[in-house]
Symmetry: C2
Subunit: 212 residues, 2 copies
């Protein structure tokens, strides 16, 4: 079967989640660049792959798929290599909860409201929305407290085995920890901090650094 | 083991998704009312169950869980009864894609921007945000076209067997189809319309009608 195609930009948290899953499964793939922030939006042809105009989209031997959680689970289930989803129902539930927390709270709060506002915008000469940052801080505290509470003992989020919980969370932390506020927010969560130090050194993570 | 507890309000699309899963698995449970729209927000004690203040939250013999997709999958995997997730990787991927489409696009567009604006608000004497409705209509068309494209032949979304795709989508359709715009938007999608007619007559669906 032809190698899978991933459409998206490597700066995207969600594209990187899929790239991490593909790297962990040692699946060779083609990354087709799609910039959703380009003037006028993504190119017209991309509508055939993701009609809502978001990234990533994925294709594997004629099977087309979008929505990151669907793609990362499919990559785990359709390819050989280490399982990225635990068999135990409670561990799976915690993994799915972490994926849900990333989508519902952590991505918007830690990446957009904290990293983009306090790092990315000033670097481009744009003004930080201080009220937005202030309103994000308590949500960020809750996110980190909940992630710390849910983390199991062991090197990885669910214990001794890497899972989609690690892969969905890592790219969010990749941006968030560049913000000056991150250190104070992470204080008091040594297990989460230690997890992040391990995660950021993992070859799959190092090999998917954004180029743009 | 004690029977599971579900925290939430029966008007909630996301609470109903979990109730549908519990009903399909024939699991007896206790529904503890939590009204997130109450003046001042949900009661203080609820913060222990869902620190972001959203519904539902779930508990099963001391195992606490929130995020609907995590709960509905856990209910499927932890209890006896018919499997609500197909074994085939591609079918599972399409199921996960539908769950993702509901979360990322359909819920906001079909429930809030169309149903709430054109049905719920006028019924309460509030003014419809016509610009919001107008901007929602093309997204709604894309949602329905994509759902129609992804639907497999057969009585249920993925074919002959009911799955979480049906259960995550049904409560969204429950509100959306009360809007006058729904008929025109659904025109040209007879398979989706027929699916909805079947789904709304299913005992699990009839037995979880909102009371508020």
């Amino acid at each position: 079967m032809s190698k899978p195609i991933l459409y998206g930009a490597d700066y995207s948290v969600y594209v990187r989640i899929v790239r991490l899953a593909l790297a962990e499964k040692q699946v060779d793939y083609e990354l087709v660049p799609v910039d959703v922030f380009a003037t006028g939006g993504p190119p017209e042809w991309y509508g055939r792959h993701q009609p809502f105009g978001r990234i990533p989209a994925f294709e594997h031997g004629g099977f087309a798929l979008y929505e990151t959680s669907a793609i990362s689970r499919y990559v785990d289930e359709a390819f050989a290599g280490p399982a990225l989803q635990p068999a135990d129902a409670k561990l799976r539930a915690t993994m799915n909860q972490v994926v849900g927390i990333v989508d519902a709270y952590a991505y918007r709060t830690l990446v957009w409201n904290i990293y983009v506002e306090t790092v990315s915008k000033p670097a481009q000469g744009a003004r930080t929305d201080e009220a937005l940052v202030a309103s994000a801080l308590p949500v960020a505290l809750t996110c980190l407290a909940e992630l710390a509470r849910l983390k199991r003992d062991g090197d990885w989020f669910l214990g001794d085995t890497l899972s989609l919980a690690d892969l969905h969370l890592a790219p969010v932390f990749g941006y968030f920890t560049k913000a000056a506020a991150a250190q104070a927010l992470l204080a008091g969560h040594p297990a989460l901090t230690a997890w992040w130090e391990r995660m950021r050194q993992r070859p799959s993570y190092c090999g998917t650094e954004p180029t743009s």
